[in-house]
């Protein structure tokens, strides 16, 4: 597919915004100053003003309802700049879950707050080191939740937790107040210098949604699709920086980009990145169109993007040689984010396994 004019304009304006207000240097600064919030507040505020926090929020709740293609375009630029915001946790996962499964009251309370940037929402799904939402260990009984969650993005700064848990034989999302008694939050800074948390729930009041199962499914689908776009953008940037390096670094009296061994690897990587981007966009569009095979496309896109981003990060470090190993040089940030983003909401193996299951083999 190809972007329409409106989408192209969004991409262009977001590209400027992120390069301007959310460059890689901000990630480095947040890390080095051990920032309490752990995200780029001025950038988040600029995104609120640009309406991007409400990109998935329906207009009746104060958003712009631009759909997942729009969210993916934002994520792509986030990937290119490694911008640090609660966009994924709040504007994508939170908005998708509440829109799909929230009661009227829950929607009226939280969706405008997402659009206005006054609340941060965190999704808690993983009970273990791997993403396995089909086998949740956290349980809700008699309206109270118990369990332990990991990789809760922006969990330590969240105003609302959306927690995946089993009740009877049904898995669903529940609303939990992070300040409630029995909630213990441990901030876990990850290798990519992003926010995550381990959260323990000990008999905590859990508020059911109108359709918590649909909310969980919608959040996972939206989150994976948007992550595929972010990882594709990350891969593209890592590739382009590496290509630039091949054209300036000299060894043996010539540019290293003249060596066929590197040329062919660069060519292969460029194709992989292009395919990853194309599939991510197609999958986002399939979700917006509610295509029959949207879930298959999203799983494929997340698997592909996870692999390609990691490959791009690995190749980028290798082709930069010694300087690629230094903390002073930015390229390592891309490798770290590729690893973390790839793990989030299901790694490539998990997505491929689910993809095969949906295809019936």
């Amino acid at each position: 597919m190809k972007l329409n004019d409106e989408q192209q304009m969004l991409q262009d304006s977001v590209a400027r915004l992120m390069a301007d207000k959310g460059p890689v240097s901000h990630l480095r600064q947040l890390r080095d100053e051990h920032n309490d919030k752990g995200y780029d507040e001025p950038l988040w505020q600029a995104m609120v003003e640009a309406g991007l926090t409400g990109i998935l929020v329906p207009e009746e709740h104060g958003g712009i309802g631009f759909g997942l293609v729009g969210a993916g375009l934002v994520a792509r630029e986030i990937g290119r700049n490694l911008s640090v915001t609660p966009f994924l946790s709040t504007a994508v996962l939170g908005a998708a879950a509440l829109s799909a499964g929230g009661s009227d009251e829950q929607k009226a309370k939280w969706l405008p707050a997402i659009a206005e940037g006054t609340s941060i929402i965190a999704l808690a799904v993983d009970d273990g080191a791997k993403h396995r939402p089909e086998r949740l260990r956290a349980r809700v009984e008699g309206g109270t939740l118990s369990g332990e969650k990991r990789l809760v993005l922006d969990g330590h700064v969240a105003d609302l937790l959306l927690v995946a848990a089993g009740e009877g034989d049904q898995a669903a999302l529940y609303l939990v107040d992070p300040k409630a008694d029995g909630v213990t939050i441990e901030r876990t800074v990850m290798a990519d210098s992003r926010n995550a948390a381990r959260v323990r729930f000990d008999q905590v009041p859990a508020e059911a949604m109108a359709d918590g199962a649909a909310a969980l499914a919608a959040a996972l689908r939206a989150g994976r699709a948007v992550l595929a776009a972010e990882l594709s953008g990350l891969a593209l940037e890592a590739f382009e920086r590496t290509l630039g390096y091949l054209k300036e670094r000299k060894q043996f009296g010539r540019l290293i980009g003249t060596f066929q061994a590197l040329q062919h690897r660069a060519a292969q990587l460029s194709g992989e990145v292009a395919m990853s981007e194309a599939l991510a966009l197609q999958a986002l569009n399939a979700c917006d169109q509610d295509a029959e095979d949207a879930d298959q496309q999203v799983l494929a896109a997340k698997a592909k993007a996870s692999r390609v981003a990691l490959l791009a990060g690995q190749e980028a470090v290798q082709m930069h040689g010694g300087i690629g190993m230094t903390d002073e040089f930015d390229i390592g940030f891309f490798l770290k984010r590729a690893r973390a983003g790839g793990e989030t909401l299901g790694d490539a193996n998990y997505c491929a396994d689910r993809f095969a299951a949906l295809r019936g083999y």
Binding site: M1, K2, L243, L246, K247, R254, L255, G257, T258, F259, Q260, Q263, H264, A266, A267, Q268, S270, G271, A274, M275, S276, A278, L279, L281, Q282, Q297, A300, A301, A303, K304, N349, A352, D353, F355, A356, A357, R359, G360, Y361
Partner: protein, 394 residues
């Protein structure tokens, strides 16, 4: 009803009335394909009737102009025709290098006289073409070709040897790259000429491949007379035509895989031979390999769609065709390797009737040529790195 809807309705009705039942089955193997040409033996009356009826409509070459025997269809109409044919599993009525390669070259570079002479017989399935490009010492380095055409006043005399000429022994005419100016630099002295394979001095010898089959020939030219008006494009500018066609050829890759796996999914095929446990393939490694292949294929298709959409918007495909050629053929080779993994010993049977004479193994081996013919994978990566990525020459 919009014009396109009406076209769809009319096309559906016409196909229903005119496509013989026998021609509504998927090909069992490449042997069922109708190539056409003077030497063609129709496998059935239905195959003949189907080709003739489609030719009459101009639908053997749906998008070529009507005055040259084509259907004059727009891109949208051609897509509708393809969809409607697929809906009833209608076979391609006739196809050969005349349709894929020569036709597009003539339409772009040919004189009016050459178009009127050659395009209608292609559309009617009367003349089967082959392609004379590679030579024993000009493979990846095609422009170093040495077959020469000497100017003898009113005609050329061609001498030399071609190799990897697809079905040269079965074709009627050849489009051929020959050196017409030995003094010029290697890309500048080449011309694109056409001649009849029955001309005196043309001989062919099939080459047996690792698949046991012989789709390619060595072709020898010994003082072959060629009419001077049979030059496509300008004299000594044949490389432009060749390059255009190679790009065109590479663009056509990216659809469904050729051969046995066309229209067949690997998952169910593997389930048949490997078995299942709890609804999953009973071989976890193979299952993951198939899933990853299908994911990569889906990503490839998404890129193909994007590149095509950009091409329609006038940005041109250009060197992107090398990307498509590289990934399309590498994916196809992977697919055939997984097919062999799935089939086990049944895939290895070389001549049993059960396997239609070793179809699986032969198609697996045939697929190895995909990343060699039409420009090797390594040549494609070279094109991508230099022309798309702008990496410097050594």
């Amino acid at each position: 009803m919009s014009d396109l809807e009406q076209f769809r309705a009319e096309t559906r009705a016409w196909l229903d009335a005119n496509c013989p039942e026998e021609m509504r089955q998927p090909l069992k193997s490449q042997a069922d394909h109708c190539w056409g040409g003077r030497k063609w033996q129709f496998q059935s009356e239905a195959q003949k009737v189907w080709m003739e009826r489609m030719a009459e409509k101009g639908w053997t070459a749906p998008q070529w102009p009507k005055e040259y025997g084509g259907g004059g269809l727009s891109q949208e109409q051609a897509e509708i025709l393809a969809e409607e044919m697929k809906r009833i599993n209608a076979r391609t009525p006739v196809s050969n290098f005349g349709f894929w390669m020569l036709g597009p070259a003539l339409l772009k570079f040919g004189s009016e006289e050459l178009k009127r002479e050659h395009l209608p017989p292609i559309c009617r399935g009367e003349i089967r073409w082959c392609q004379g490009y590679s030579e024993p010492n000009a493979g990846s380095d095609l422009a170093s070709l040495q077959t020469r055409a000497e100017d003898k006043g009113d005609h050329f005399v061609v001498n030399g040897q071609k190799i990897w000429t697809s079905y040269a022994d079965k074709a009627d005419w050849i489009f051929c790259l020959v050196r017409t100016d030995p003094q010029a630099t290697k890309h500048n002295g080449i011309s694109f000429v056409l001649f009849d394979m029955e001309n005196e001095g043309v001989s062919t010898r099939p080459i047996e491949l690792i698949s046991g089959e012989s789709p390619f020939c060595e072709t020898f030219f010994d003082d072959v007379k060629v009419d001077k008006h049979q030059v496509v494009g300008e004299l000594n500018r044949g490389w432009d035509v060749a390059k255009y066609l190679l790009t065109h050829e590479r663009n056509n890759i990216g659809g469904e895989p050729p051969g046995f796996l066309k229209g067949r999914a690997l998952g169910p095929l593997a389930a048949e031979y490997v078995g299942t446990e709890h609804g999953k393939l009973a071989d976890a490694g193979l299952r993951a390999d198939i899933a990853n292949l299908e994911i990569d294929h889906m990503a490839f298709q998404a890129l193909v769609g994007k590149i095509r959409a950009e091409a329609e918007a006038g940005q041109g495909v250009g060197a992107q065709s090398a990307v498509l050629k590289y990934y399309g053929t590498e994916l196809n080779k992977r697919r055939y390797e997984l097919m062999m993994d799935a089939l086990g010993s049944e895939g290895l049977e070389w001549d049993s009737e059960r396997t239609l004479g070793g179809l699986f193994a032969r198609e697996w081996l045939r697929s190895k040529g995909n990343s060699i013919e039409g420009g090797t994978s390594e040549v494609m990566l070279g094109i991508v790195s230099k022309r798309l990525l702008g990496l410097p020459d050594a």
